[in-house]
Symmetry: C2
Subunit: 231 residues, 2 copies
DNA sequence: TCAATTTGTGTAATTATTACGCAAATATAA
DNA sequence: TTATATTTGCGTAATAATTACACAAATTGA
């Protein structure tokens, strides 16, 4: 049995699309889903879907992430809402978008429910994407590039334990500029938001590096004192 | 003749709500509309309305502003999208919100089409407002307070010609802190984004002040050189 | 044990920010 | 017309933040 829903005025559909960003192999990557349905069948697109009844926007985003990638408890923020009437060839669909930062990668592979093929693409080598998703991705990158300077987003992209060099490289990749190592370390350590662990990395080559963790408690204390993160 | 619109799945309605901010008499003010229909009849609310067919979100915002206040060519930016299923007692209505900054005030009075009563309220003395509009207003104020520090929003709130004291007072009101006059002037003038006019104010009392105008051309040049406004 | 690689550290020079007080121009009241 | 109240416009010294820059120590692999 099929029920239809009837309204006095036309209503656009509402979808939620997610820009999932991960950092691996020294590059920022974006997760895309391979479309097998029209429109844009065969193209890659952001993981998204339609809003369900009784669902809030953020609930919808979380559900979609779970369905498409198995990811739970992601760090996410609402990005922007796109509503040009012609952005979807089928009909007017308004897309509320979120960006999602993740720090561990295999999420994608081990999800039983997933049907569509998904893959990570380096942000500098994105394929041709469906709909206005290229514009959405650009807005996401701009937002993250700006925001990583004044809010602790970077730690969401790294594993829990990281070296200062890894942190610096991440900033360099996102900001697209090189930073002085000594000044970077001085600044980050003086902020007093990192917890020094007494562990070091074991690597193939070079002096082992001390591992650090982001200390959210210290960070919140800092915020209360109206001192803000700023690179 | 009445046509109905039918869909396979339920669709929330989509509205656009605007937080209009103006600066007058040394205070930031917000424009509210007095509701005469249910729900929340008798309460004040943000000027908003439903999205029309074929309309983009920003077009909708512009249309509503025109209808409710007569204002044209406003400075506006998308703020956030609110979508909790219970935010409207009637049904699920998603609200895409914009903030609008205006620098000349009588807009409100001389609009023939307007039906509802509208009024400006100082942001510190807002009445009890309908729906989740108090939350929306809070988000708008937080956003403006943050953004005025690193983008030239302030000039949208002042008349075209203004004195440095007026500009300073505006910052003081929004940031809720006092600023040193000499340092403020030094900083703003050193940015080289103001055009000094050879006019002065004529006031009741005190030394006349030189008028300045925001120089958008200089500002854009600055942006291109990757130098950013920052208070 | 030598070479290659990566980490970890200090200081001096430069630039930006802060703190602070007084004279000049005007309107108003005496 | 003179005195008073008010507001503008301006400079400097002290402090804090940012920048530029090089070498020794710890490790791996040859």
């Amino acid at each position: 049995m099929k029920i239809d829903y009837t309204y006095k005025y036309p209503r656009p559909a509402i979808s939620v699309d997610n820009v999932m960003l991960g950092y691996a192999d020294g590059a920022l990557k974006i997760l895309l889903v391979h479309r097998t349905n029209e429109p844009y069948s065969g193209k890659w697109a952001l993981p998204g879907g339609f809003l369900h009844e009784g669902e809030s926007l953020s609930e919808c985003s979380v559900r979609i992430l779970k369905e498409k990638t198995g990811l739970e408890n992601p760090f996410m923020e609402q990005l922007y809402t796109f509503g040009a009437p012609d952005r979807d060839p089928r009909e007017h669909i308004i897309s509320v978008t979120y960006f999602v930062l993740i720090n561990h990668f295999p999420v994608v592979e081990n999800n039983a429910e997933k049907v569509d093929q998904v893959a990570w693409f380096p942000w500098s080598e994105l394929p041709d994407v469906a709909f206005d998703h290229a514009a959405i991705i650009r807005v996401a990158i701009d937002r993250i590039r700006a925001k990583i300077r004044y809010s602790p987003l970077a730690f969401e992209l790294l594993p829990e334990k990281f070296t200062l060099s890894q942190l610096q490289t991440l900033f360099e990749v996102i900001l697209h500029q090189t930073l002085d190592r000594r000044n970077f370390r001085k600044k980050l350590l003086s902020m007093n938001i990192l917890q020094e662990l007494n562990e070091t990395t074991t690597k193939k080559v070079g002096k082992p590096a001390v591992l650090y963790a982001f200390d959210k408690k210290k960070y919140d204390t800092m915020l209360q004192q109206q001192i803000y993160f700023e690179l």
